[in-house]
Each structure stands twice: as C-alpha cells, then as structure tokens.
Amino acid sequence: MNKNNKKSVGFILLDIFYITMAILPLGVGILLKLISTPPSDGGVTISGARVFWHIDISSSNFLDIFITEAQINSVLVIITILFVCLFLTHGLKQKIWLKRQHLAEIIIEKVDSMVADNMGEPFKAFPPFIIAIMALSAFSSLITLLGLFPPTSDINIVGGWAILVFIIITYYKMKCGLGYYIGGFMKPVFILAPINAIGEFATPVSMAFRHYGNVMSGAVISVLVSYFLGQFSTLLFGDGAISVFQVGLPAILSLYFDIFSGCLQAFIFAMLTMLNISTAFDADEYERRKKKKLEKKPKR
C-alpha cells in the first residue's frame, strides 16, 4: 500500500500548477486594483465598482455596456474556483490517500444531505447548483480580505443570481401547467392577483437586496470606521502622522463583516434558494397530473 501512496513527480507538478492557477487570478485582481486606483484625496468616498470600459449604446446607464471591477473580479473568482475544484478532485481514489479528498467528500455529502433535508425527493439534481451558489457567493465576499472589490456588493451581480433563482422558481411553478400557475395568483380571491404578482417579484428582489445590503453595509461601515480612525489620529498627532488607530479595530470589523457575514450570507442565499424552489413545486399536483396523462395515453 505504501508504494501507491507516493506522489509521482508529474502529480506534484500538476498540483503546483493548479495551486498557482488558483492564486494567479487573485494576484491579477490585486494588480488591476493597484493600477486603476487613483491617488486618494483624503476624503471619504463611498461608491460602487470602478468602470474599466464604458461603451455608450444609449443615453441611459441601464442599457450601456460597462466592464466593471465587479465583473472582472467575478470572472477571476470563477477561474479560482475552477482550479480549486480541479485541485480537490486531483488524484481521486476509492481508497483515500490525500487529505483534500476528505474535504471534497465532506462538501458533497453535507450539501447532499442538506438538499435532501430541505428540498426532498424531486430535487435530486440540485446539490451542484447549491454548491455553485455557495462557492461563488462565499468566494466573492471573501475576496475583500485581499483588498479587492467584492462582486457581491454590486447589486447587478447578486441581482443576476436572484433572477436565475427566480427563473428556476417560475419553471417549477409552471411544471404543473400554465393554467395552474396563473390560477395560483388568484388564490384567495381573484382581486388579490396584482398583490400576489408583486409578492412573486418580491422574492428575487428581497434575496438580492439582502445579500447586497449585508456585504455593502459591511464595506461602508468599514470605510467609515477607518476614515474616522484616521481623522482621530490626525487630530491627536497632527497631519501626516502614521494613523495608529487604523491598525487594530478594522481587522476585528473585517473579521465580522467579511468572514462571518460573507459566509453566513452565502449560506442564507443558498438556503433561501432551496426553500423557495422547493415550496414553489407542488409535488402532489404534479403527480396527479402525471397519473392523469398516463391514464389518458392507452385510450388513444
């Protein structure tokens, strides 16, 4: 058995390649950030993502094409996740001989059991999607630890995810037929249809704003606190002094806002996705319709 446990040279080289490729995008992101950030004028500026490229198509900002920091960063995060996944599944064997395989198995088994608990039988295919949401959200939030702009604090990014979830929800609601779906809006009384429709659209909006608000408020508070601490040290030691107070406290805040809140929001986004999708699907009605269809077929 010991003979098999030795890593070959090619294996180690591939490992190193994967790790470098996982770290490289983050380095590129930091480099981009360093290049693109203009010298600060000392004031507190709270703004969204920096625009790298702006193509004017129409007069409104809604339809123009922006290549922003947030999009670049999310692409970098995707590359990182791809290589982390490749690294985790590299050298997969039935008999565990690498520690990383435990991690891969734990992730998949935990998410599998979570999906089985919260969603049930008809949603067997969902674990990869849930892992994808969790990984993307968590990595996007944790990227702030490197000083990069977190894509999750851009409403467009989170909004896109929420809209995808909304599409899946609607798909599952329509699985029982279009008439049943529209009938669902007029549930208690048909007058309530507009309110129900608003409620329908409130789901993705609230999901997007929850995630966006959490990450963004963390960033805003961090900026405000660090600005305030800088001002405080200027007040005490005069202009140009090293801001002593900026050393400790922002790290603690970052511990909460970046790490804890980022992971928690990723978890909550995934959880809400699961719950919303599973409540959208009326399994009994679907079974009933399926049975009806099967009964009809032989008669023809």
Binding site: I46, S47, S206, F209, R210, Y212, G213, N214, M216, S217, V220, L264, Q265, F267, I268, M271, L272
Partner: protein
C-alpha cells in the same frame, strides 16, 4: 440656489436618519429570537447545534428589514444629492 442645495442636503440627511429608525425592529426581533434560543438551549442543551443554526438563519432573515433601511439611508446620503442637485440646476433658472 445655495439655500436650495442646503435644503436638499439637509433633507437627505434627515431622511437617512429617519430611515434608520427601522433599525429598532430587527433589534427587538433578533433580541427576542436570541432570548428564545437561549431558553430552548437551557431546556434542551443537547439540541444546541440545531437551535443555534436555526437562530442564526432567522436572525439573518430578520435583519433584512434593517438592511433595507440601511440601503435607503445610504442611497439618501451618497446617491440622492448627486442626482437631485443636477436636477435642481437643470430645472430651476439661476436667479
């Protein structure tokens, strides 16, 4: 003109402050949630893990309204003046 800009800024700040009154709600709600969770853990210490997870979940969801208020307040402070002052300059003739 300066007065008008001042009024806009002041109202934005005031609005942001008023919006953050909504912070009371999640505060009370989360306090209740944590109190109940503590009680539950005291009654059944073996179910600590499940209770804690559910509580954090619930807290995060209850926090949402507060976050909406925060978003509105941030919009009012950082975005609204930038949009309203150009509008003012556009539509109000300089006296």
């Amino acid at each position: 003109m300066a007065l008008a800009i001042g009024i806009i800024l002041g109202c934005c700040a005031l609005g942001a402050g008023i919006a953050m009154i909504a912070g009371i709600g999640p505060g009370i709600g989360e306090g209740n949630a944590v109190a109940s969770a503590c009680e539950a853990i005291g009654r059944q210490p073996e179910s600590k893990g499940a209770v804690t997870t559910t509580m954090i979940m619930g807290c995060a969801i209850a926090e949402t309204t507060g976050l909406y208020a925060l978003v509105v307040a941030i919009l009012l402070i950082f975005v609204a003046p930038n949009t309203f002052i150009p509008l003012l300059a556009k539509y109000v003739p300089v006296a």
